[in-house]
């Protein structure tokens, strides 16, 4: 839009120049280039109009933006903020105008004053503020034209503090809000409306569950948590199996006379992991239960009847019949399980308790049964 305007202004200027040339007036080349290069000066017809008589009455307000474009040309011909400030400092009335025009509420009434107008325009053309400012003007003009409520242009600040929220809702007002979407503040209260609509529409089959459970999200999460809870309970059920393949930690191995002196009973190894031995330990004939775990790295040693020793296949540790280590890397004797004579006279091994020789626990009477 600005470009189109610019073109038309350029035409106007060309026409004006032609007129001046015809009239004998001499425009300076600097002024010429300034006018053609800077779009700000050409942006509004008002500026163009005031620019046309400029040569006749050279005012500082019009000349100052024209003097700068050599620097501003690279950036699209717009004077930078610095330039504007510098200019404003030099030229007090124009500076005041620029400062005032930066304040939005005051900007609207200014165009009435012809002199500072040229200075106010470049100030308003700061990249962030300039575009919304002009477009807002157009939009608000259109809106007000449709509403036939306000005659003059409405500035942004006017719109933001406009009495619209206070106004009763009316169809034209809504339309105006839709036509000017860049006014954020008054738009916000309109949002709850769709929800109200849905609530009104909600009296169908879908509404039943919502009434019952809140919303579809609630339905989903309720179903999920119920399923998860049941699943967890189902998993917990696995902790209590119907059949326990694991042998109990306490089990009976038979009567004493089933273990003759000097014998290492290996038939409980496969099921329980224990050797029941009847042997002489420190001058005392004992029956004890040895754990079938090598004290080096946990392999299961084998009982070698011919050599009368337990021998580990992993690293070659060897243990005597009483479980004491004597070869290979095993650092300590085999461990004993608790053993006792049960009420019925059978020997009962309790795997939940172990006795270690290096801790002096083999002296514990529960670690053996005397024969």
């Amino acid at each position: 839009m600005a470009e189109r305007k610019k073109m038309s202004v350029a035409e106007i200027l060309a026409a004006a120049r032609a007129e001046k040339a015809g009239g004998g007036a001499k425009p300076t080349p600097a002024e010429e280039s300034a006018v053609s290069d800077s779009p700000e000066a050409a942006e509004s017809p008002a500026a163009a109009d005031s620019g046309a008589p400029k040569p006749a009455a050279p005012k500082p307000a019009g000349a100052k933006p024209a003097a700068k474009p050599a620097a501003g040309a690279a950036a699209g011909g717009r004077p930078s903020v610095k330039d504007i400030l510098a200019m404003a400092r030099k030229n007090q009335p124009a500076g005041e105008a620029a400062a005032v025009s930066a304040e939005k509420p005051a900007a609207a009434p200014k165009p009435a004053a012809p002199k500072p107008a040229a200075a106010a325009k470049p100030a308003a053309s700061k990249p962030a503020a300039a575009k919304p400012f002009t477009s807002l003007d157009t939009a608000s003009i259109l809106a007000s034209a449709r509403a036939a409520a306000k005659p003059g242009p409405v500035s942004k600040s006017d719109a933001s503090i406009s009495p619209r929220p206070e106004k009763p809702r009316s169809a034209p007002e809504k339309k105006a809000a839709a036509a000017a979407p860049k006014m954020p503040m008054p738009k916000m209260p309109a949002k709850p409306q769709p929800a109200k609509k849905a609530a009104v529409e909600g009296e169908d089959r879908r509404g039943f569950l919502e009434i019952a459970l809140g919303s579809f999200m609630a339905v989903g999460f309720t179903a999920l948590s119920v399923t998860g809870g049941l699943f967890t309970l189902g998993l917990a059920r696995f902790l209590f199996p119907n059949v326990l393949a694991e042998p109990p930690s306490r089990f009976k191995v038979g009567f004493k006379d089933g273990f003759p002196s000097g014998k290492v009973e290996t038939k409980f190894v496969a099921q329980y992991g224990v050797w029941v031995v009847n042997s002489e330990v420190q001058g005392q004939q004992q029956i004890y239960a040895l754990k079938t775990v090598c004290t080096h790295l946990g392999c299961t040693p084998n009982w070698l009847e011919a050599e009368q020793k337990f021998k580990c296949p992993c690293h070659g540790s060897g243990f005597y019949k009483d479980g004491v280590n004597f070869e290979g890397p095993a650092p300590r004797p085999l461990e004993r399980y608790a053993i006792k004579v049960a009420d019925d006279g059978q020997l009962e091994v309790d795997k939940s308790r172990t006795f270690q020789e290096e801790l002096g626990q083999w002296a514990d009477p529960s670690s053996f049964v005397t024969v």
Binding site: V269, A270, Q271, G273, T292, H296, L297, C299, T300, P301, N302, L304, A306, E307, K311, C312, P313, C314, H315, G316, G318, F326, E327, G328, P329, P331, R332, E358, L359
Partner: protein
Amino acid sequence: MHSPELFLKDVSGFLGGYYAAIAIANAIAALILWQKKNQPGWALVWTVFAGVMMVLCGLALTGSPSLVPALPAAVRAAVNALSGPVIYTLGTTALLVILFVFRKFFVQPMVAWTILNVSLLAMGLSMADANFASIVMKPDNVPIVGLVFLLAFFTWVATKQAVVNDERIARGEPPMEKLDDEKVLVWPDLVYTELICMVAVSAFLLAWAILLQAPLEEPASSVKTPNPSKAPWYFLGLQEMLVYFDPWYAGVVLPSLVIFGLMAIPYLDYNKKGNGYYSIAERKFGYLTFQFGFLELWITLIILGTFLRGPNWNFFGPFEYWSPYKVEVLNNVDLPQMFWVNLLDRPLPRPPQGAGALTQVGYILLREAPGLLIMGAYLVLLPPLLAVTIFRGFFKKMGFIRYMVMMNLMLLMLTLPLKMILRWTVNLKYIISIPEFSLNF
């Protein structure tokens, strides 16, 4: 175990192919030597050798016990009788030392080819022994046999390059690698090579997977350990270390030290030479340390664990039947026992009944005092002592921290061979033995 006749029938086909392959390889070598290398003497030697191999191939294919070439029974018995952990370790050490000292001789291609032929022939002759074949041809162990030859080959190639470079450097010439630093393109030079390798290796693996059965065993049971129970081949060095140490040291500390020590090498190495080219003379310390750790303390232990450790982790000769009832006297005792009981003829210091925890710890420390003192001296006193004597130059160049790190890594690495020697010579089980806290060293 089936009868020797049946065994030889089984193995004769393989042996025939084996000898034929050796014969073909030697014929090709002879041809190359004759035509390209202009060495008619060697060409003649290998032609004759190929002919002998063809004869052996024919004999092997007969499958008859009297004709299949094999080592004489007396030789096998002698080898079995001689072999043991001590002889094996000392023998491999001596072999590696000889190979290193006379490397200029061994890197000659014809010498290497001779050694390869002799070892292949020895393998073939040994393979006619049922016990040897049952170990070597186990699907588990076949790749290890191949890896031994591969490792020997690569070590030989590297040593050859290093010897050539050392000679050139001695003459004031740049090493070979500097002459041939022409740029090679990734595409097509490298990618083509990789593609061909990929196809070849895939074909090889496919054939292997079809020909050799997977070494699967019976279902695992917590109360039944296979006998012998062997780690994967690459961990057999570790398993062999575990024979001499407590699990926490041989299974945790030493492997971690291997990894951290290898990571530390770039920070400890102050020798700027030998960068980007093979050289032994320019970095003798680095080369020897690495090869000692790798070949001696890792590879030979893997070979020992794979081929020579049988049921109950007993040592078996290469032609010995793996009997689970072999009796070996391996009784060993801890250092406190040796010191207090055997040397001072006193009972081990034991805390009185019902003593407090501190008193017990005090008695344990007293009991382990000799071991603690020895280890303390080894790890604390030895590094400074070496710094002012043998490793004076190292200490000056490396500074205190780097020197101490290197020295401690080296001393901890040396604990393995030292412990092995102590176990063999004086039947020492542990230097420090605190089973109360599962702390043994």
